[in-house]
Each structure stands twice: as structure tokens, then as C-alpha cells.
Symmetry: C2
């Protein structure tokens, strides 16, 4: 059995940076919390907990010390509350997410109705939305939602950084017919499209596709969905013990990839278990 | 035989305005020229010639008097030359074309590479292009030409006012993948899309479709092309004497529409000849 491991599997630039900043902050501070899990990997969050990094849900749950802002960023309101309470901030917001927040703020300030392509419940999306508070702001997940948008003379579009380009393009397409001026910032992170394109290529060459990453990770779920469309035998696992040897019956080629928040060691464990099954 | 005449057939707002201004100017000035034919209707240009309006090709061909700028507009260079020579200008540029010129100028000034969706040879396009002289400017007629465009960080898009929305949308689609920021002004005139949509609807209900208008009129040619795709029995005529009774063999329903530069009297003549054939 042959294993094709995606070169782009695992931590992206923003997650690598946030993780490094979190471990460094844990060394430097006695009392340290992260506002929400630092990344969508329960396994990495456990490792940070061992170093004393506690996860809190709200700014109100903090009692002094320092706070790490995760790669997804926080809302403008949360940032303001932290500043008011003079809590020390270690800002690990991904620089690409920050850019999307800034574009949304500028568009809103300049009078555009803001359309954010993304999942309404995702913390990154909630953060970006909060910066576009001057006027209309719409979160749109797909083409059919975009078709329900009202007409607006000037529409500004930004995207959740992990969105697929195809979906983004379809929504821009629809919005073009709903406005006189359309101003679009493609804030989709290259890492996401590189990973998605490589996943598509692997899925088309494999008999079985394994996607490794947190079940709470939006980008890993999307990666699994993209693979599933090409190779129906796609399995999404969070840890190695979820792998079932029965999946491999008659399989010649296994493709393996992983989301942007999947630690290297989890990927390596999966590769090693799959190798053992294949022998 | 039933005749379906498009409500939107004939002069659009800009052409109506330019024609009225031209006839008024002919009354008021002894020496009056138009820079290029005032609209793409040889029949109307003849009527104006009877009133003393001479058509000249270049600013250099003018010898004093007043000049009418046609609905398509002129280039920034021509406007400057007219001002330098202190020639009196009757500016009949369509206000929608003027808007496209202004958007192109603003985009160019603000550092966007400008993409103009249109036909490179069309005087309206040459006019708009001339206002985007600060940096890159590309005229793109269709999707395949757009695919050859280079990558640019910031791209601004405007359209020749008579373009079809579908074509515009496809080009925007391609440009989205070639830039980080895309700023699009939909400068397509409503009159064009209303006329095109009504033509599509008529073509699908008719056994024969007649499109009336100048063979040198881009919007009439496009209208004929749109009808042809739906009803292969589509005929483009400029005047009533081009109608061949043989076209009507076995025809139950005839659709008639006309371009934005087709005078009312030409349409009425066509309707009356078709009625006579159908009796």
C-alpha cells in the first residue's frame, strides 16, 4: 500500500505563530489565559494547559494576569473591554485575519454595505463582523444565501481566510448583480487554497483519503468535504485511535492531509499507524 | 401573422438627448460639425446633414464654429485640443458614458490597473480608455482575453455602457483570481439590459426575429447576436427595403426590436411593411 502525504498538511503560518507565542507567553507569565481555545486542536490545547494556560470563554472570566488572543482574533468589543480592564494582551491574531478585520472596518467606514463570506458562527467571522459596525453587514455562507441579499448601491466583500475560492467567486458573482459598485478584497489565505488544491489532487489519486484534524476545526471539516466530493472513501479523524483497519480493505493508495490547526505529531502518528496497517 | 414589437426598441435616454441637442445646435449655429457621426444611424446622420451638421473625423479638420460631441464621448486628448483651439463645444456625451470616464479616471489616479470591458475599436471605449492614462489599462472583450491578463495587486473594472451583463460578469470572475483587491463599477446602462432581456423574451416567442438598426452600431449588432442564439431565424436590417418577403414563409409570430440608435420612424416603417406582408 502506498501513502501519499500532503506537503501542505498541518499548521499554517498563522497557527505556527500563535502556537509559538502561546508557549513563550506560558514561560513568561504566572497567570495566563487564552480567550477561547488557542487553535481548534483539543490535543494542542491540552499541552498548553499542562504549561498553565487556562482557556476562558469571556473577558469577564479573566482575573488579572495576561491573555492570549488566538489566531482567529477577537471582536472589537472584546478588545476594547481588555483595554479598559488594563489586561496585558499577547495578540496572536493571524496577520491575515487582522487584514480582513481592517478591510471590513475601512469598507464600513467608507459607506459600503459589507458582505463577509464565511460561517456566521465561526469566531474569526464574528471578530471580522464586529469591525464593520458602521452600517449594513451580512454574513453569507454560500450562493443561495447571497441570492437573498438586498440591493445596495455600494457593496464591499471580504472573506473568512479559510474559505474556498470557488465559493467566494460564486458569491462575488451574485453580488455583482446587486450593486452599482463592488469592492472586493480577496482575504482568502494562500495556505488554504494550496492545501485544498493539493488535497483535491491527492483525493483523485487515492483509493482512501484520510483527513486529520479537530472536529471543531472549520478548515479541517471543509478539507474533508472537498476530498469527499472527489473520493467518497474519505475519513476525518482527530486522533490515531479513531483509525479503523477495515477501511483499508482492497486499498492500494492512501492519501493523507491535515487541517491548518493539526499539530505535526498527530499527523506523524497517523502516518505511522497507516504504514503499519499497510505492511 | 402576429407582430410582437419590443417596448424598449429604439432610442435610449442618451441618444434621445444627443439627437435633441444636435438638432437644437443646428438651429443656433451657422457653422456646426459633429466629431464623428452623432449616433450610429446613417439615416439620422443624413437628416442632420440636411440641417447643416457636417461630420468631421478629427479636431484638426474643424475650422472654427461649434462642434457637437456625440453620445459616445471623445478622448481626453481631443477634449483638450478643442479647449486649446477655443472651439465652442456642445457636449452631448451620454451622462452614463461620462460616469464611466470618471470612474476610469479615478481608478487610474488611485493606482488601480484598469480593465475596461468592451470592444477596443469602439469610440466610446477609446474615450473611456483615454481617461485612465495614469497606469496600466487593458481593454478586454471576453473571458478568453481576460484569462490572458497579467496579475495585478489592485484591479479596477468598468464597462462599455452597452455590454451584456453576462459577459461583464464572466470577466469580473476571471479578474477576481488575478488580484488582491478588485473594484468594479457596473457602468452597463440599464436600457441596454432591459432591451436585451426583452429581445431574449421576444426571440423565444417568435418564429422570426427582426432587429432594426445601423450595421455600424455595436449595440444593434449585439442585440442581433443575442436573438440569433435563441432564434436562428433572426435578421438584422438597417432599412425597410432590406426586408425579404421570403423570410416570412410559415411564420406565425414575428418579433421586432431595434438598437439604441435606431430612429422611431425606421422602426415604424418596418412594422408597417411586416404588417402588409402578414396580411
Amino acid at each position: 500500500m502506498r501513502i501519499l502525504l500532503a506537503q501542505s498538511a498541518g499548521f499554517c503560518f498563522g497557527v505556527k505563530r500563535a502556537t509559538r507565542m502561546a508557549f513563550e507567553a506560558a514561560e513568561q507569565h504566572c497567570t495566563i489565559c487564552s480567550l477561547g481555545p488557542i487553535i481548534h486542536s483539543p490535543q494542542l490545547v491540552s499541552k498548553l494547559a499542562e504549561k498553565g494556560v487556562e482557556v476562558v470563554k469571556n473577558v469577564d472570566d479573566l482575573h488579572g494576569g495576561a491573555v492570549i488572543i488566538r489566531s482567529h482574533g477577537v471582536t472589537a468589543g472584546e478588545m476594547e473591554a481588555l483595554q479598559k480592564r488594563q489586561i496585558e494582551v499577547v495578540d496572536a491574531t493571524c496577520p491575515f485575519v487582522k487584514k480582513a478585520q481592517q478591510h471590513a472596518a475601512m469598507l464600513s467606514r467608507e459607506g459600503y454595505a459589507v458582505v463577509l463570506v464565511g460561517e456566521a458562527e465561526h469566531p474569526e467571522v464574528q471578530g471580522i463582523v464586529s469591525y464593520a459596525a458602521k452600517g449594513d453587514v451580512f454574513v453569507v455562507a454560500d450562493r443561495s444565501q447571497a441570492e437573498k441579499l438586498p440591493m445596495r448601491p455600494r457593496v464591499g466583500i471580504v472573506a473568512q481566510t479559510t474559505q474556498s475560492f470557488d465559493n467566494f467567486q460564486q458569491i462575488v458573482d451574485v453580488c455583482l448583480g446587486k450593486s452599482h459598485e463592488l469592492r472586493v478584497f480577496n482575504t482568502i489565505c494562500d495556505a488554504t487554497s494550496v492545501r485544498q488544491n493539493e488535497a483535491k489532487s491527492l483525493a483523485s489519486q487515492s483509493d482512501l483519503m484520510i483527513v486529520v484534524g479537530g472536529f471543531n476545526s472549520a478548515n479541517t471539516n471543509r478539507l474533508a468535504q472537498i476530498c469527499q466530493e472527489i473520493q467518497p472513501r474519505t475519513r476525518h479523524v482527530e486522533t490515531v485511535d479513531q483509525i479503523d483497519p477495515e477501511w483499508f480493505a482492497g486499498v492500494q493508495v492512501v492519501g493523507i492531509t491535515a487541517g491548518a490547526s493539526t499539530p505535526r505529531w498527530l499527523i506523524e502518528e497517523v502516518v505511522s499507524v497507516v504504514s503499519a496497517i499497510g505492511k
